[in-house]
């Protein structure tokens, strides 16, 4: 790192552009590809580039976690999913054009808003002088681990109520998240467990659909009928109704 920085003052900009371009470009790839397997592959590249951006921003540990968990874990999982749910010939499911247009408009407007916000604040858009020594000094694995156990090494010198009370650590969220993970994994295992439904599933699903269709239809009819009945009933039973005078 030192070598590069010394050698080339624009290394940061350079790598940023590369990583940003790959991340966004493969993001588009994910969006536009119709093949699930390819989408997964593009996603891996996009996430990897993002990890690179994390490195650039000085969050080495997080970047490493990004690579390990996402690329090494999540995406493997996704690919397993792709394989398990693989259909004949990897059928492409085309999206209607109007959906595309709609999504583009909505997404575009969101992007406009987000970019506006991103560049709207001077404090954010004005680059600050980057002190190489500072960058070099950041070793974050230990402070992060201590922060998760409730000790903020990085803020030892700071004064403030939250720090004094020892409440600024992340022990509690850490525990919650760990329990959450446990529950989620058990739940996932439970939901994804193998069921002997090879033939029944078809019948069942179609039957369920038929039933649902019928219910839906009937309820519509019923609503219309009740509406009519109540109106007729009103006119027939109301003694003060002028129509019932005779």
């Amino acid at each position: 790192m030192d070598l590069i920085a010394v050698a080339w003052p624009y290394w940061h900009q350079f790598f940023f552009i590369i990583f940003a371009a790959t991340a966004v470009g493969f993001g588009f790839g994910v969006l536009l590809s119709k093949n699930v397997v390819r989408m997964a592959f593009y996603l891996v590249l996009s996430l990897g580039s993002t990890a690179g951006l994390f490195f650039l921003a000085g969050a080495e540990f997080v970047g490493a976690m990004q690579l390990m968990i996402y690329v090494g874990g999540t995406l493997v999982l996704l690919i397993f999913g792709v394989m398990l749910t693989a259909q004949k010939d990897f059928i492409n499911m085309d999206t209607h054009t109007q959906d595309w247009i709609l999504a583009t408009i909505v997404g575009g407007s969101l992007l406009m808003v987000l970019l506006f916000a991103a560049f709207g604040a001077d404090d954010w858009s004005t680059p600050q002088d980057i002190n190489d020594a500072q960058v070099e000094a950041t070793k974050e694995a230990t402070p992060l681990g201590l922060a998760l156990t409730g000790i903020r090494v990085d803020k030892l010198g700071d004064s403030g109520d939250a720090v004094d009370d020892g409440k600024s650590g992340y022990l509690m969220p850490f525990i919650i998240v760990s329990i959450h993970l446990l529950v989620v994994l058990i739940g996932a295992a439970y939901m994804a467990r193998t069921k002997k439904l090879s033939h029944a599933t078809d019948d069942k699903s179609s039957r369920a659909k038929l039933m649902l269709f019928k219910m839906e239809h009937e309820s519509e009819q019923l609503e219309e009928e009740t509406y009519v009945v109540t109106h007729r009933g009103k006119s027939a039973l109301n003694p003060l109704d002028p129509q019932n005078e005779n």
């Binding site: 900009q13 921003a57 997080v62 792709v82 749910t85 959906d99 950041t138």
Partner: protein, 111 residues
């Protein structure tokens, strides 16, 4: 301009925004359930990018969130992993029940 000037937080934010929007559009357009999941991952990454950018002392020594940003990003990653696990389980269930992964077929909530 970019090549000349120093990279600021806004650029990271812009990348995050783009990733976020890509993920959202992906969720909105993909009929494949797995595609939708990938869109979710993109969205989460886009969000994570913001935390990292704000927590970076390299980019913004004054007023950065410091470790807090990275910690939250870590949590997001972990939760994203959990989400992925559950979502995949759901996807498998969905596939078992509907014999497909087309989310348009899963319109039982139609009012």
């Amino acid at each position: 301009m970019l090549l000349i000037g120093t990279v600021s937080v806004s650029w990271y934010l812009a990348v995050g925004a783009v990733l976020f929007v890509l993920g959202a559009v992906c969720m909105a357009t993909k009929r494949n359930l797995l595609g939708v999941l990938m869109g979710v991952e993109l969205v989460l990454n886009g969000a994570n990018m913001n935390f990292i950018a704000f927590g970076s002392k390299v980019l913004r020594p004054e007023g950065s969130l410091g470790l807090d940003g990275q910690l939250i990003a870590l949590f997001v990653i972990v939760l994203a992993a959990a989400e992925a696990a559950v979502a995949l389980a759901i996807a498998l269930n969905f596939y078992n029940n509907h014999n497909t992964v087309d989310v348009d077929r899963a319109n039982e909530l139609n009012g």
